[in-house]
């Protein structure tokens, strides 16, 4: 009997090890009708991987184009070069980090100022140049209205574009740079236009029409959008065009709430309420007004010579309030301007993409849905909430690495649907949310 056992036990164990492990087929990977061999990305800060109020190495590595390129490799994608900040200068422009919370639970942020890639501060802050070839043409801050501005990449222009603009051709426009790269590209993503309305919104709508950050005229927007998409597709490349999300859905505008501020004021004195400065005068704030993330630093602070702290008051007449300055409020009228511009821009982008038979990532619809219901994945609840939501970084506008991962996945869905490909998705939980001290 012993011998029977001695023979049986190892045989069973062997069977367990060798035969028992189930195998699940790897998902198929197919390029469909697209060609991913040379992918370029065109866009602004979102495309560059901007996060936490700055551009730095980790954000660059988590940029959605870089994540996409990694997935494209499964279906014949080539190498994807980015103008990465080098080791020792990995903090790039510097960025915000979370330093802790106040006793009342408000976040405290601090600037990272070490290991920057600043090469000079005259005539303005300029960064260590990157002269090798790049596939990621994302330029933080660029507006669609800027793409044909000569000198936009000069030392007096946009420092992020300056660092990748050929030194021998400092007046080359973004448009001409894209045209040169598009000549050999087989696939592209294009997500431009956010800054044509974002600057106006984050400045609380105080900019007038002549300001360089005013809302871009919709006819100008359409003209430039058509030009860039024409040049991207001139060589037969396929790609994705992304729409512009309504900025009113981001934590920059949804974290500081009128109702909460009013409640705080009333707790100290039931007569107090929140008053705001608008273009048409001072009035009591309503729940429809959006306060900027930056307003939290000034609301409630003392003003010399004024009996009320900033934002507080009992009435609109002079001396009865200390209204919150207009730059910290996107009031209902300003929100309408932002929304109308966003809608018009998206109409232009969508029409042009459809004309060229391109895939469309409707970022506006997607982020509206995120704002409404959040986005759960792998047992983790992600929302559009500031800090706790995992998806938006500390600047309240740009995504975290996890946020960029879900953007990459949405683009992959759009690509697969349009081109019959089966590009695999990334796992969002492999990418971080906000880091805590």
């Amino acid at each position: 009997m012993h011998t029977l056992l001695k023979r049986t036990a190892p045989a069973l164990a062997l069977l367990a090890l060798a035969g028992c492990q189930p195998e699940l087929d790897a998902p198929g990977a197919d390029k469909g009708s697209a060609d991913f061999s040379r992918y370029i990305s065109v866009g602004n800060s979102l495309t560059a991987g901007f996060s936490d109020g700055g551009l730095y190495l980790e954000g660059q590595q988590s940029s959605y184009p870089n994540l996409l390129a990694g997935q494209f490799k499964a279906v014949g994608g080539g190498d994807f070069a980015q103008p990465l900040f080098q080791a020792g200068q990995e903090n790039g422009s510097g960025y915000l980090r979370l330093a802790g919370f106040t006793a009342t639970g408000n976040p405290i942020t601090a600037n990272v100022t070490t290991n920057l890639a600043v090469r000079t501060t005259t005539p303005q802050v300029l960064y260590t140049r990157y002269d090798a070839a790049v596939n990621n043409l994302g330029v933080p801050g660029i507006r669609l209205s800027d793409i044909q501005t000569p000198g936009y990449g000069s030392q007096l222009g946009n420092p992020y574009f300056e660092r990748i603009t050929p030194a021998a051709n400092p007046l080359q426009t973004y448009f001409l740079r894209v045209k040169a790269e598009a000549a050999t590209a087989t696939f592209f993503t294009c997500w431009l236009g956010n800054n044509d309305v974002l600057g106006y919104a984050t400045a609380g709508g105080v900019l007038n029409a002549t300001s360089s950050n005013a809302i871009t005229r919709t006819d100008t927007f359409q003209l430039k959008a058509n030009r860039i998409i024409n040049v991207l597709t001139a060589n037969g490349a396929k790609g994705v065009v992304a729409t512009i999300p309504n900025v009113a859905n981001v934590p920059f505008f949804t974290t500081v709430r009128v109702a909460a501020i009013k409640a705080t004021f009333k707790a100290s004195n039931p007569a107090l309420s929140l008053y705001i400065q608008t273009s048409t005068g001072v009035r009591e704030a309503t729940d429809a007004d959006l306060l900027t993330l930056t307003s939290s630093a000034v609301i409630g602070t003392a003003t010399p010579g004024n009996p009320f702290p900033v934002g507080a008051g009992v009435g609109t007449a002079t001396g009865q309030s200390n209204p919150l300055p207009s730059q910290f409020v996107l009031d209902a009228a300003e929100q309408t301007l932002v929304r109308d511009a966003t809608t018009a821009y998206n109409t232009s982008l969508t029409a042009k993409a459809n004309e060229k038979g391109l895939a469309i990532f409707d970022a506006n619809a997607f982020f509206s849905q995120i704002a409404a219901t959040g986005f759960t994945t792998d047992g983790v609840s992600n929302t559009a909430a500031f800090i706790s939501g995992n998806l938006f970084s500390l600047d309240g506008v740009h995504p975290t690495p996890r946020g960029y991962a879900i953007v990459a996945n949405e683009m992959i869905k759009a690509i697969n649907a349009k081109y019959g490909s089966s590009v695999p998705q990334v796992n969002p939980t492999d990418y971080r949310g906000v880091r805590f001290p």
Binding site: C20, E23, A26, T376, T377, G379, N427, R435, F436, P437
Partner: protein, 431 residues
């Protein structure tokens, strides 16, 4: 020799178990039964009748003592909905066991005995870094029942029996990562819940009827016990200091139902050497609606004032289970080859109590097919039983959209496939 082996086996008794029936039920209570697809309710094979049907104990011919142990070796594959590499469990071998001692009166009217077995258990441990780590990294659920049993033969064809079922030992250890990160390169936060269940009492009862030499019928019922953990330990690691006020819990309470099982069985003995059995088990899994943890305590609150007993800012964690009652069908037989050697074979089909879109990493359940083989060799009063089971769980997929729709998004979307191999060995002594 045998007594030495007995000691050896009892040395590995205090261990956990792994899923080998629907949900976290384990039906590995007798080595002879294991070889026959798990049938036993309509049979009176040996002292393991105390588990399968206490009513049949009085009809067991011999007085005896037996011990048995199994080694469950589960192999699992998981692929996330998002793609990526196949994930597998860490290789764990867990050892459900059983021990029976049964004695009969001289006139064969009364029988009594004590049974120790492990009817529920579950152990899974996922490989590091898997995408479901925020849902679960590992669980180890154990239960040991002790059952004093009496049985009485009303006539020589009809017997009844009952036992007091004592949840003598129950323990749960559950671990998962928490989706908050500290400094670059740091591991995500992690929580471990570890607790022992309080002693609880239920019952097991059965009736056995053998109208002819060729036919027997049995029915049995084992009652539900709620395994209750009170004041289990909550241990955090890697929680960023700034979030200390949201992770203050030190203790938890939780209740897990160990559901009632009703069984019917039929035995056929067409000739002296052949025994066939057919069983149906009905398990009242629908009692398992939610898994809730209540948290208490305050570990210092990270220097901040906050409500006590928080895990991620909440005093409570509730997760939908919504199991449904489930049936297992079993078929098996044994054949006496020589006076000493008996061979067995059988199979089972187990309907999962877990509905679509409710599959959790802790119990990645699916309908399952079991195939079994077994043999016994008897020399004198001693006997050795061996068994082997191969359990194949159907491939099962759930999408994030299904999870969101069910409000079960606290688990992972993807495809599971599991196989389990369970060799077992038992020793018995009859007198």
């Amino acid at each position: 020799m045998t007594s030495k082996s007995l000691l050896l086996v009892s040395g590995v008794l205090l261990t956990g178990t792994a899923a080998s029936a629907g949900g976290y039920q384990v039906t590995l209570a007798g080595q002879k039964n294991n070889g026959m697809g798990g049938v036993g309710v309509g049979l009176s094979l040996d002292q393991a009748a105390m588990f399968y049907n206490p009513g049949a104990l009085a009809m067991v011919k011999d007085r005896g003592v037996q011990v048995g142990v199994n080694a469950t070796m589960a192999r699992q594959a998981f692929r996330s909905q998002y793609g990526g590499p196949q994930r597998e469990l860490k290789s764990n071998i867990v050892t459900p066991f059983n021990l029976y001692a049964g004695f009969g009166s001289e006139d064969r009217k009364f029988a009594a005995g004590i049974a120790i077995y492990t009817p529920f258990g579950n152990k899974v441990e996922y490989a590091d870094g898997w995408e479901g780590r925020y849902s679960l990294t590992g669980i180890d659920l154990k239960s040991i029942y002790v059952q004093p049993t009496v049985s009485y033969a009303v006539t020589d064809k009809l017997s009844v029996g009952a036992g007091m079922v004592i949840l003598a030992y129950g323990a749960v250890n559950l671990q998962k990562d928490i989706p908050v990160e500290g400094a670059a390169g740091a591991q995500p936060a992690h929580v471990e819940l570890d607790g022992k269940a309080t002693t609880k009492i239920g019952f097991n009862a059965g009736i056995y009827f053998k109208p002819t030499d060729k036919l027997s019928i049995g029915a049995s019922y084992r009652s539900k016990i709620d395994a209750q953990v009170e004041g289990g330990d909550v241990t955090f690691s890697n929680v960023p200091a700034a979030l200390g006020s949201r992770f203050t819990a030190t203790e938890f309470d939780a209740t897990l139902p160990l559901p009632a099982t009703t069984s019917l069985g039929i035995g056929f003995m067409p000739n002296e050497n052949l025994t066939l059995g057919f069983d149906v088990n009905y398990v009242e899994w629908s009692k398992y609606k939610t898994l809730q943890f209540d948290f208490r305590g305050n570990n210092g609150a990270g220097g901040l004032v906050a409500p006590s007993g928080q895990v991620g800012g909440s005093n409570i964690s509730t997760s939908r289970r919504e199991y449904k009652d489930a049936v297992t069908l079993r078929l098996g037989g044994q054949y006496l080859l020589t006076s000493g050697l008996t061979v067995r074979a059988g199979g089972s089909y187990d309907f999962s109590p877990v509905e679509d879109g409710f599959v959790t990493p802790e119990t990645p359940d699916a309908d399952r097919i079991g195939l079994t083989l077994g043999a016994s060799y008897k020399f004198g009063s001693f006997g050795v039983d061996i068994s082997g089971q191969f359990i194949d769980l159907k491939e099962r997929t759930q999408t994030e959209a299904e999870l969101v729709a069910n409000n079960t998004a606290d688990r992972v979307a993807g495809t599971y496939k599991t196989r389990v191999l369970i060799p077992g060995i038992g020793l018995n002594y009859t007198f």
